[in-house]
């Protein structure tokens, strides 16, 4: 732990939510434009969080806010681990803690809507987690280590060896951002057949915590995409932004699917193409240099 590391931590702690907030604002703006509206100011997510923090803390269950705090800190931890180029497999497990904390938080409120949302989100875990770990495996096969240092130090990009996993990861991001067509666990503004899914019983500061955690999560997930072209950071960032924009577009042009569809899509298409990619890496013995 030297001065530099501490500086990085502070930078991430402050910078990531700003970035995430902007990204979220841009998302709402683009969505509005795609629908022929003007849309809210870019800083709207910031105003929302500020407002939520100034509201009463209305709860149904004394422990419900504990889970969202766990969610927040573990999202931050996984982001920090990503920044510090830790073991990728480990990052995924830490990230799972965060996802599970939110699910358990939703379940813990006991509201039927939240429980339906949570059990759908559990199914989302089943869909995306294998793909994420296969991504980690691809990194291992290419670099001989699960630590991200090797990916970031390499001079050639990951993407040229893992195009199929890249495609699968776009869908995974779509699931993780809870965007249409996979937005069934916490339904977004317009669509309220599950009220607000997992977050139905969260209001005020508790919900603000979830929103802030989402900001970190945006950065974290885009960071996973960045890794595909980390050798030239500029291109990596560009790809991250492009994928993010693509997901916004997909969000706006698709209708929600059943969770069963997602599971089928994931286990039949995503897993298969990822495994094909892994098999290619394994047999070609390609190495990232």
């Amino acid at each position: 732990m030297n001065m530099n590391d501490i500086l990085t931590i502070v930078l991430v702690l402050i910078g990531a939510p700003i970035l995430g907030c902007l990204a979220s604002g841009i998302d709402r703006r683009i969505t509005a434009r795609l629908q022929g509206r003007v849309g809210p100011p870019i800083l709207q997510p910031y105003y929302d969080v500020k407002k939520l923090l100034s509201k009463d803390n209305m709860i149904v269950n004394p422990s419900q806010n504990f889970y969202v705090i766990v969610y927040l800190v573990f999202i931050i931890l996984s982001l920090l681990m990503l920044v510090f180029k830790q073991d990728f497999l480990m990052i995924i497990f830490v990230y799972t803690v965060a996802s599970l904390a939110l699910i358990v938080g939703g379940m813990s409120t006991g509201s039927p809507y939240a429980r339906v949302g949570s059990s759908r989100e559990i199914m989302a875990i089943l869909s995306y987690e294998p793909v994420l770990i296969l991504y980690a495996l691809a990194i291992y096969l290419l670099t001989g280590t699960f630590k991200l240092t090797a990916v970031l130090d390499a001079s050639s990009p990951l993407l040229i060896y893992t195009p199929l996993i890249f495609i699968a990861m776009i869908v995974v991001l779509n699931i993780k951002f809870k965007k249409s067509p996979f937005d069934y666990s916490t339904s977004h503004h317009g669509h309220q057949e599950l009220v607000k899914g997992m977050t139905t019983e969260y209001g005020g500061p508790g919900f603000a915590t979830i929103e802030i955690a989402h900001f970190y999560e945006y950065v974290f997930l885009t960071g996973l995409i960045f890794l595909f072209w980390a050798s030239t950071p500029i291109i990596g960032v560009l790809i991250g932004i492009l994928v993010y924009l693509l997901i916004i577009v997909i969000d706006n042009i698709t209708a929600r699917v059943y969770w069963q569809w997602m599971l089928k899509l994931s286990w039949s298409v995503l897993l298969i193409i990822s495994i094909v990619n892994i098999a290619y890496l394994y047999y070609s013995q390609a190495k990232l240099v």
């Binding site: 923090l53 009463d56 803390n57 209305m58 709860i59 149904v60 269950n61 004394p62 419900q64 806010n65 766990v70 927040l72 800190v73 573990f74 931890l77 073991d87 497999l89 480990m90 497990f93 830490v94 799972t96 803690v97 599970l100 699910i103 358990v104 379940m107 813990s108 409120t109 006991g110 509201s111 039927p112 809507y113 429980r115 339906v116 949570s118 059990s119 759908r120 559990i122 199914m123 875990i125 089943l126 987690e129 294998p130 770990i133 296969l134 495996l137 291992y140 096969l141 280590t145 699960f146 630590k147 009220v195 139905t200 019983e201 500061p205 897993l271 495994i275 892994i278 098999a279 394994y282």
Partner: protein, 638 residues
């Protein structure tokens, strides 16, 4: 010194089993406490004594060998007698085969001159598990069995406690014995204990399931004894001798491949791996302490214990790869099956089989890293699973059901019990706890074998899902069932002890690794895993697991929660039910169109149509039998 401890470890539980028979029921609590304290003291003492081989030479040997022979005859006679009594012909047939093999062994196989107990670090770990967790479970039983028997109008507690402590003796012998003949005796004794305890209820279901367990374990026992006979033709009569012999040259390695494969099949049967899994599921009819002791934390571990001990004989060979694929296949298959289960004990049973499969897969991979993972997983899994089984038992007594859906809202009614159960589940699937850490190690170790790693990845995702469902359900705040928590010391002490053990072992995972696992892997593979640990980090050659950071962050989360708890004036309100709540009677009721009230109910997703037992079991049987056949054929050298 160590000789005495070894002998005491077998004699003390035996003594207690007699005491349980001799003394009245009112003294059982005191006996159980005494057994717990003695067991813990003895096992710690064994660890302090260090490692070593205890030779039993003349004249004791001749006497003991006769005892062993007599016991073996008795075991076979017992099997023949009960299976004839209940007209269970398959078991009788298997019993006759065992008898024939025994007769063959007795007349044809050269006698050994001495017997030995081999106390290495692995045995120490197992002894700690058996004697601390095991006795704690017996202690738990004293607070559990009265109510259990009351519900079922039984009065067989003498049998219960006798068998339980007798089992501890057998299990202690099993993990310490080095001579294969003796090991086999202890092996069969644990099978018998398991049979007696599964059919404890003496109803039809219990007896049928007991016989299924007996029959399948006899199959394993037969494989084991054939393996032992084959080994004897190579002049190998000890467990540690197999590795030494296999290490001499390539021809020796090939020669022991088939017997080793047979021994492994014996281990698979004991650990209820895929084609044998039905006995463990059937075994869930037994009282919960039995499930916790025999069917999750100790006896089923005997199988993987044997498989891990055999590592030097197959590490790096194609037999090893076959075992790894087989284990990982069981892991993914049973995790998938667990997904569709609503019965908590069945979920735990499948999860146990799956984790044992993971251990076998790690052992099969055979790199130092993987073997280290296997040994650590045995330890961590035993603690977590024992806790989970006991919690399930206690939950069943609290709400009168073992259906996961009925457990919703448990946290409101029995907060401590639920917290402990939640800790157990979290420790099974999330960092920074031991099971996940070892899963991580085994995944990293398996990443060189594409088939195994893909199975492990799928299995691990499935594991997350079925535990997440359960975890969320017990932590949700909507209660459907009436619950009567009873706070008894002998119930909550073992539970809290196990909960504490999970946290402590997870924090001190590196010292544990350093003291127990590293030297053991060194013995088995003559190479230590390249794991280093600096300040709460677990570093392998291909990755690092900074578990201490996660502990810190978890503590931080709790602190933040406590600090901010009252910062934003909390105000309780009711659920959002579109405003149609019923606030007087039940907050989960809503008013329907006819102005009467109805209960809302939500259940988890079980995917019966995809992962149901009827869909997957046949497939599982077919593939696992093929895999075992491949392992055996590989053993013959085809």
């Amino acid at each position: 010194m160590i000789e005495n401890t070894v002998m005491l470890l077998i004699i003390v539980p035996l003594l207690f089993s007699l005491l349980f028979v001799a003394l009245p029921k009112s003294l059982y609590k005191i006996l159980a406490w005494a057994l717990f304290i003695l067991g813990a003291a003895l096992s710690v003492n064994l660890v302090l004594d260090g490692t070593g081989v205890v030779q039993i030479g003349e004249p004791n040997f001749a006497m003991l060998e006769n005892v062993v022979l007599i016991l073996e005859v008795l075991v076979i006679l017992f099997i023949l007698a009960v299976s004839a009594k209940y007209k269970n012909w398959p078991t009788l047939g298997l019993g006759i085969i065992s008898a024939a093999i025994f007769a063959y062994t007795f007349s044809n196989v050269p006698k050994v001159e001495g017997a030995s107990f081999n106390i290495d670090q692995f045995s120490q770990v197992m002894i700690l598990i058996v004697n601390i967790i095991g006795t704690a479970i017996i202690l738990f039983a004293t607070g559990y069995m009265d109510q259990y028997e009351e519900h079922r109008h039984l009065n067989r507690q003498k049998t219960f406690y006798f068998t339980m402590s007798f089992f501890l003796a057998a299990m202690n012998g099993l993990v310490m014995a080095d001579t294969l003949g003796w090991l086999f005796l202890f092996w069969e004794l644990t099978t018998l204990c398991s049979f007696v305890l599964i059919s404890y209820n003496m109803d039809e279901e219990g007896i049928n399931n007991g016989f299924r367990a007996l029959a399948l374990n006899l199959v394993g026992g037969i494989a084991l004894s054939i393996g032992i006979i084959l080994l004897a033709t190579n002049n190998v009569s000890t467990l540690s001798g197999i590795g030494t012999y296999a290490g001499t040259n390539a021809a020796a390695l090939a020669a022991v491949a088939l017997p080793v494969a047979l021994l492994c099949v014996g281990g698979f049967a004991k650990s209820a791996q895929m084609p044998f899994q039905s006995w463990l599921l059937g075994a869930m009819v037994a009282p919960t302490p039995v499930s916790a002791l025999l069917h999750s934390s100790t006896m089923v571990n005997a199988g993987v214990f044997l498989v891990v001990k055999l590592v030097p004989a197959y590490a790096g060979t194609s037999l090893g790869t076959a075992i790894a694929v087989y284990g990982s296949f069981t892991f993914v298959m049973c995790s998938a099956l667990a997904l569709s289960q609503r019965n908590a004990k069945r979920v735990l049973a499948y999860s146990t089989i799956a984790n044992l499969g993971l251990i076998i897969a790690s052992a099969g991979i055979g790199t130092p890293l993987a073997v280290a993972a296997a040994i650590m997983l045995i330890l961590f899994h035993a603690i977590s699973k024992a806790l989970l089984f006991l919690c399930t038992g206690e939950i069943e007594h609290t709400i009168g059901s073992r259906d996961i859906e009925d457990m919703s809202g448990l946290i409101k009614k029995a907060p401590l019990l639920t917290t402990l159960a939640a800790l157990g589940m979290v420790s099974m699937l999330l960092p920074p706890f031991g099971v996940l850490l070892t899963k991580w190690v085994s995944m990293e170790a398996a990443s060189s074998n594409p088939v195994v790693i893909v199975f492990l990845i799928l299995g691990s995702a499935l594991t997350t899902v079925y535990y997440a469902k359960w975890l969320g359900t017990i932590l949700s705040s909507s209660m459907d069932k009436n619950a009567v928590p009873h706070k008894k010391l002998e119930t909550y002490f073992p539970l809290s002890l196990l909960g504490l053990a999970i946290v402590v072992t997870s924090i001190f995972v590196f010292p544990i690794y350093d003291y127990f696992v590293k030297p053991q892997v060194d013995i088995l593979l003559k190479a230590a895993p390249a794991i280093s640990g600096l300040a709460g980090e677990f570093t392998t050659e291909i990755g690092a697991f900074t578990y201490i950071v996660i502990f810190v962050v978890l503590a931080l989360a709790i602190l933040i929660y406590l600090a901010t708890k009252n910062m934003f004036t909390p105000r309780m309100s009711s659920y959002y039910m579109c405003g149609e709540n019923n606030l007087e009677r039940d907050r989960l009721m809503f008013r329907n169109g006819l102005c009467s009230y109805e209960k809302s109910s939500v259940s988890n997703i079980y995917l019966q149509n995809t992962f149901g037992e009827s869909k997957l079991t046949t497939l599982g049987y077919a593939i696992s039998i093929i895999l075992i056949a491949i392992a055996l054929l590989g053993g013959i050298g085809l």
